[in-house]
């Protein structure tokens, strides 16, 4: 089985070593096409993504992503441990949105076992608060690193300054700052700490004006707009065809958010908007649209958290963790369940066979599906645009490779 990745790429281009006497190809300047390995260690690839670029000078003719450098057999592990033991593994998939991953897996298992109806309201609201806080944290990282990709270093530090507060909140609730395992099967592991509601609403008051600061600093910066508008345009149809979800799909102008169209976790009780890309600075579906959708989603998340904190007031004393969470047996059935993760639709396919351990666990990572459009978008763009496009897709390699 001789299927070396580089050989395959080489197959598709003319042999550069052949003597081209009197060849019919006449270029502007006699330049050679060059194969460049962007990654696995490259600052713009957000982890261990490797993209083989076929370039003609600064022009990228073809960009083939190669993934798998962070493959940790997460699905295989799922077949050897009980669902509640698998929760910590989901943290490590999309490590920037651990709460949402926990939530996705917990909801899938609860739906499969019928535990869904028995989760207390308080636990549901706490789940929503943390999922949305985590969405803000994740979008902050996306915003900051996108600035880095474009060459602005300062927004990154601003984003991390705010994210630090969110991580403090998480730490106060569950003790961890990155891999929380807080939302678990049957609810959340522990009730909120004292004064959490006050501190959280204080944070929201502090955070809301910061979004304006980000817009002044980066979003409407002329150079930034020039770098991102009309770059990497994905139309709505293309986005659906490639299975893109989340801010990437909404950036293409499709108003599609699982929290609205098929609400899970009583999201239907909340009032919020779904921002979509409108092509304010260029074409609908360009990098700027995908970027601004994330910024606007942070504002909407703030709105949701405020409502959830309000709803939380009447629920003191309710049990936040269902007793059956650790002892459930999975029925001989399967389920595929998706939630709206910061990066898109995170789906878990869980198949049980009557035992406590699932027969098959599959995670459908939004980053994995969003990344597959790279090949299509990164054609005939400049080298710098590749960084801009990859950054605007906001992939987390932990989830792509699982």
């Amino acid at each position: 089985m001789k299927t070396d990745a580089v050989d395959i790429v080489l197959e598709s281009q003319p042999d550069i070593n052949v003597e081209l006497n009197g060849s019919q190809i006449q270029h502007d300047l006699p330049t050679e096409e060059m194969l460049v390995n962007m990654g696995p260690q490259h600052p713009a690839t957000h982890g261990v993504l490797r993209i083989v670029l076929r370039t003609d000078g600064e022009m990228v003719l073809e960009a083939v992503p190669h993934i798998g450098y962070l493959h940790r057999c997460a699905e295989k592990i799922g077949e050897t441990v009980a669902p509640y033991q698998y929760i910590p593994y989901t943290d490590r998939m999309d490590y920037l949105a651990g709460m949402n991953n926990n939530l996705g897996f917990a909801l899938a298992v609860e739906k499969l076992t019928g535990l869904e109806q028995e989760i207390s309201k308080r636990a549901t609201y706490i789940r929503i608060i943390f999922a949305e806080l985590n969405r803000i944290a994740s979008h902050l990282v996306a915003f900051g690193t996108y600035g880095l990709d474009i060459g602005a270093i300062t927004p990154f530090l601003y984003a991390f300054r705010e994210r630090e507060y969110i991580l403090d909140l998480f730490e106060s609730a569950c003790g961890a700052r990155l891999t929380y395992s807080y939302i678990t099967i049957g609810g959340v592991t522990d009730d909120l700490p004292d004064k959490f509601v006050e501190i959280c609403s204080e944070f929201l008051d502090y955070f809301e004006p910061k979004v304006k600061e980000y817009n002044n600093l980066l979003s409407h910066n002329h150079i930034f707009v020039k770098r991102t508008a009309d770059i990497g345009v994905i139309t709505g149809e293309e986005a659906l065809d490639y299975g893109l979800t989340g801010p990437v799909l909404r950036g293409s102008g499709v108003r599609w958010d699982l929290r609205k169209v098929r609400p899970h976790c009583s999201y239907d009780e909340f009032e919020f908007d779904v921002p979509v890309g409108q092509g304010l600075k260029g074409t609908v579906g360009d990098c700027w649209d995908r970027y601004i959708v994330r910024i606007q989603e942070m504002e909407q998340s703030v709105k949701i958290i405020r409502q959830a904190l309000e709803k939380l007031r009447g629920t003191e004393g309710q049990d936040v963790l269902h007793k059956k969470g650790k002892t459930i047996k999975l029925p001989d059935d399967d389920i595929y369940f998706e939630i709206e993760n910061p990066r898109g639709q995170l789906g878990f396919y869980v198949q049980g066979n009557g035992a406590a351990i699932p027969a098959r666990v599959k995670a459908r990572g939004p980053s994995f599906c969003n990344l597959c459009v790279t090949d299509k978008v990164c054609r005939d763009v400049l080298l710098a645009d590749v960084a801009a496009i990859i950054g605007s897709l906001d992939v987390v390699m932990g989830e792509v490779d699982r």
């Binding site: 003597e19 081209l20 006497n21 009197g22 060849s23 006449q26 270029h27 300047l29 006699p30």
Partner: protein, 104 residues
Amino acid sequence: MILAVGLNHYLVLSALIFSLGVLCMATKRNAIGILIGVELVLNAANINLVAFSKYNAGVGDGHIFAVFVILLAAAEAALAIAIFMNFYNTLRTIDVDRGDELRG
């Protein structure tokens, strides 16, 4: 003192650089190597001009000539490299010995 520098020193230096430039033109088969040889020869000529201006004439004529030589050398280099590009475009090499083929 025998080491005291005069006009002759400059002229001999210029002669040596000139010969090296000619040698460079003769031995290099890379077209850009030949261009480098031409630059050497022009530099040798410039040294002469400036040295004579300093030691013999005392007016700026030598300087003016040298300015024009530098200017023409730059123009010549730009044009020559454009030609080499074309040459390379057709023959995929800049070996001058291959330039005798009467092909497009």
